[in-house]
Symmetry: C2
Subunit: 404 residues, 2 copies
């Protein structure tokens, strides 16, 4: 008789955003007349920019002709896109990353979930707390975390790095050295950014201790301050200790188009085996590349016209961030983030739990946010709002929140 992967049974509850979706659906079912505003899941709302739409149409036309049709592409991505990424996201910033160190995929969520497979199941893993649940859950599924300990509010063998108002939402270098360290800056969910000197300290720590940093840079397009790195490869020595994941979802609205990429420098090796070769093998064996038309859309992101349109789109969302930050302040709440990130991380009022505040916001003013405790024990008492709504909805949501 076959056996299931028992690690799945250790998973806590259902995936956070599915649970939110279920509660909102239940509320709307019971109150069909109410107008619910969603500032919960990190999904964008602005349509795909015109230059990208044109690139999609052009690629679709190609696929309909014998000359233009493309079947299986290179699993690692087409050169036109890998070159555009290398040029714009790295060389232009003085980072030494070659096009063939870039692996194009159907999104950062998949990459972030898959990357752990190339490591042994006996590696220790450190995550920030609060944390994007995918880092944790995929390691639970792989058997790296042990069981959930209700007393600890976390998994036995996982190293949690608390990020709270007390430490400015910046994790401290762990005393117990982890093998794998997940970092995400600008951070989801706290909206905190990291200064270059602080990130350099992490790179030095990893190189000193033989750890690998799995760096999630999904939100780099929202960085507005100087001295905040857009890539971990701006730090010296990152090529021997860091893997970086990028998304096209937040800078270009590709949440429904699906595109991302992962960088693995060839200098990153263990006992003579490069992680690049392992990931390359995984891509070749378990993946067939992102759709050609979507890769052409990705290329358009780096065109001059595309850049201009997306700069305006990011500015649009950052205006929402300002609306939320200032609106919460006026309403007497304490809030963080929203300067280099599209997320605002607020303290719940009156010591309410995160889910109690979620239910209250939904029931009383029909605004959906994300309960901080869904991101980990240290997120309890916090609540995440995102800047990805429309400006009209965002202003209306804050008007309602102020009326609470």
């Amino acid at each position: 008789m076959y056996r299931i992967n028992e690690n799945y049974l250790k998973l806590q509850g259902s995936y956070l955003f599915s649970e939110i979706g279920r509660r909102v659906a239940a509320y709307k079912e019971a109150h069909p007349e109410k107008d619910v505003i969603r500032l919960g899941i990190g999904d964008v709302t602005q349509p795909i920019a015109p230059t990208i739409i044109s690139a999609l149409h052009k690629a679709v036309d190609e696929m309909g002709t014998p000359e233009g049709f493309r079947g299986y592409g290179p699993e690692q991505g087409y050169d036109f896109l890998r070159n555009a990424i290398a040029e714009n996201d790295y060389r232009a910033r003085g980072c030494e990353i070659a096009a063939d160190e870039i692996f194009v995929s159907d999104g950062a969520k998949c990459d972030v979930g898959n990357i752990q497979e190339i490591f042994g199941t006996d590696n220790t893993v450190a995550v920030c707390d609060p944390v994007y649940p995918v880092y944790v859950d995929t390691n639970v599924m792989a058997g790296r975390t042990g069981r959930f300990d209700p007393a600890k509010g976390g998994f036995d063998r996982l190293i949690y790095m608390p990020c709270t108002a007390e430490n400015g939402f910046s994790p401290e270098l762990p005393g117990q050295v982890p093998d794998l360290i997940y970092l995400c800056f600008p951070n989801n969910p706290t909206g905190a950014a990291i200064r270059k000197e602080a990130l350099q300290a992490w790179v030095d720590y990893a190189n000193r201790n033989g750890s690998v940093i799995l760096y999630d840079a999904a939100y780099e397009a929202y960085i507005s301050e100087e001295g905040v790195p857009h890539s971990i490869y701006e730090c010296e020595g990152a090529r021997t200790c860091a893997i970086e994941m990028h998304s096209f979802s937040k800078n270009a609205g590709f949440t429904g188009l699906r595109l991302g990429y992962t960088v693995i420098p060839k200098d990153l090796k263990s006992g003579g085996v490069t992680l690049h070769s392992l990931w390359d093998r995984r891509h070749g064996t378990r993946y067939n590349g992102a759709p050609y038309i979507v890769q052409r859309a990705g290329e358009a992101v780096y065109s001059e016209a595309g850049k201009a349109e997306l700069k305006a789109q990011v500015a649009y969302y950052m205006e929402n961030a300002r609306t939320i930050r200032e609106g919460l302040k006026e309403a007497g709440f304490t809030a963080y983030g929203g300067v280099n990130a599209p997320y605002i991380w607020m303290k719940t009022p009156d010591g309410m739990t995160s889910w109690a505040f979620f239910d209250r916001l939904l029931a009383q003013v029909q605004v959906v946010g994300t309960p901080g405790s869904g991101f980990g024990a240290s997120g309890e008492g916090y609540f995440r709002l995102t800047a990805f709504g429309t400006q009209e909805n965002t202003r209306e949501a804050l008007r309602r929140i102020r009326s609470l």
Copy 2:
């Protein structure tokens, strides 16, 4: 110091099709004037059908408007597509599969590679020999196979089911009961089909022994004979023992668009846990759904106009299958398949090894096929040709092969 996943080091050589790509590229570099015809990798050549192109354009237009824009979709796929699949691929064939038992993905290769994750690493695995390498390699990576044994020509703990001319390329029910059984019919690479009675015997075997059949139905659109099942769910009892994987690559030319689906009936359970719930959790945690525009393209596959266009496309390729089958026969070769499948499986002449014949075909007549030994030890001495070329190229390839 972090450790890599040591199982990767057990993998044999590089992924078959990457190796073929490398040899062909080297040949073309050395002989730029030669015209190479590829009947190797199972990639289609006909452009995407007009009805599907229209659906893509329409969906792209939607994505460019505030009203039509879609961000994150349901990870399991949009209802419009799941319903179309349930109706056309199942209900219309008398199979009882609900829309929510269908998980849409970016391709059967990914699903076939990912599905093993929901099973424990201690399950025994049976594969046909020859076999599509992804079934084997993904289980090697997960640590289910043990080491490669050169004497056996295979992995220690893997159960190989030989499929040769002697048994009509139809595996026998294994004496040692496997927990997981990969079956692919119509078969890649042998082109063999399975009769309903024979598949029923597998279903009965699995139900009797507590095994799960992982059924790859990627080539069902090529079935031309009565009595050959298009889905394993045509067999009685399959809902309690079978998972089925489908591709849009071969019936609709989506190799570069990326779309597939996996069916997990809710009746398939172990100790009260449904495999459906595990896969659902995996989709929610590690995947973000196939692109909206590609799912709309998938929907168009099931429209009346789409069906008519794709029927013609399949007929076009099956004419190639006939050309290859008859051409090889005229040239004095022994060949199998090509009646219910787009693959022709030929014996190499004069006891040549598969790779020697590959090199000879490439060097002498510039035709690329796939060495049978790349699919497993029992594939040695065989060679695969695919019907996915253009009719012009296919006829020219056979003209050249006859001149050998």
